[in-house]
Point group: C2
Chain length 240, copies 2
DNA sequence: CGCACGGTTGACCTGTATCAAGCCGGGTGG
DNA sequence: CCACCCGGCTTGATACAGGTCAACCGTGCG
């Protein structure tokens, strides 16, 4: 059976509570199923969409791991986020009908393609869906506030600690360990996200390991002292 | 006549093209008018909403100038944006039904209060409004991408140059000069927004003035060479 | 097996923070 | 109307976090 033609159903998707509203009637769920037009596979290193491409759809990540990045004319780029299963990407495209960032798969990925005009159409009729779309967009705004806070006011150790706590918390919500994780991205990508150079990221990992806060072996990280990480983020030393 | 009881009408508001969708029928415009429940005045230094307060409404700025800021438990705070007439604030509150940042007036302000449940209700019926709400939220996401890029990858001069160009461009869209502006915020607030200390902001202003790129006299700024500012943002020197 | 990419570590440099002193200008009270 | 005061701004001297450059290592893929 061709995977492109599989009828996808949100109603029996195990990620439903992550990307769809809860507490809907069967009839409403049925209609939500119709939003997902197709699925799309993206290989590691491939892009789901490029900056400048016309915007048509939002994407719900079923499996895999993405980074989104914005670029300037002069060739700089900046990772704006890492996205995992159950998260929605593509919201940046709505305002001008084209995407303003790239979404690149950091591991083989599978996404649900949800044409945005269908979403708008259906959310006029299903209040829960309408509100859900608003919440997803608002959540993204609040997430970015957090990134801005991190980039604007935290030091290297605080940034990396906050990043790791956030990652592990999101992984935990998906049934993974609270203390162990495998990074899907390079030191350079972490650095870009955190506004640091890769050497600084590497040194900071080493420092955390030296202090016994975590074990680090390339991309395998085991957090030994979550409390300590929390204290680092909360910047215990006097900051007037 | 009590200003609280003035019937506000978007349909004859001179900011309409900034905050409301264009190309609507008279009947639709009429209904949009009903969204604006009341107006609210906020004195300089006063807050429109606080972090933690229940979310009920979005606010369209009629006059005045705001900053929004997020704070951490440990007392740090970070300005996440400056908002002027025609812009919408409060979107952060949708996701968890309470606000996650403070909105503080930097000058006496007047805002339209738009209860969000009314917005949702009406945007189920008026497609143009529905799409407009989506665009406003998407625009905010894209704006924040820009801030993240700035904070993550630019140096002090580039940040300040980008900030000034952005401000002057938004003011120009509102009929003000392309080259002259009066800053509504302190050096410290600019610094917080740009992830810099106030001394660095001040020094960078002085440097721009020395180089003849602009005249700076306290909060009065006259841009003499927009091209030069653009070049600074575009980071002309080799960056590998 | 070997190459190439990602990661680590060291030495040194620089941009921005920090600390400190003084200035400017607008608002208030005598 | 002037003097004073205070918040905001500027400027200088110095400190330091993180960037830069460079060498080397490790490991996983072809």
């Amino acid at each position: 059976m061709n995977p492109q033609t599989i009828k996808v159903a949100c109603s029996n998707c195990n990620l439903r509570e992550l990307c769809m509203p809860v507490g809907m009637s069967d009839e409403q769920l049925q209609r939500i199923d119709d939003i997902v037009a197709t699925r799309r596979k993206v290989k590691r290193g491939g892009t789901l969409f490029h900056s400048g491409e016309p915007f048509t759809s939002l994407y719900a990540i079923r499996t895999g791991f993405f980074k989104t990045l914005v670029a300037t004319e002069d060739g700089r780029d900046q990772v704006t986020g890492f996205q995992m299963a159950g998260e929605i990407i593509g919201l940046d495209g709505i305002v001008n009908d084209h995407h303003t960032c790239d979404a690149v798969a950091l591991e083989d990925a599978d996404v649900c393609v949800m044409p945005f005009d269908r979403i708008e159409e259906l959310s006029r009729e299903v209040n829960a869906l309408q509100h859900h779309v608003h919440k997803i967009m608002s959540r993204e705004i609040v997430r970015e506030h957090g990134v801005i806070l991190l980039l604007g006011s935290m030091r290297a150790e605080e940034r990396l600690a906050a990043f790791l706590l956030n990652l592990v918390q999101r992984l935990h919500a998906r049934g993974f360990s609270q203390s162990e994780l495998v990074l899907r991205m390079t030191r350079e990508e972490i650095g870009s996200y955190l506004g640091l150079k890769l050497e600084t990221v590497s040194r900071t990992f080493s420092k955390f390991a030296e202090e016994g806060v975590m074990e680090v072996k390339q991309r395998h990280v085991r957090i030994l002292d979550t409390q300590a990480l929390q204290r680092i983020v909360n910047h215990q030393q006097a900051c007037q």
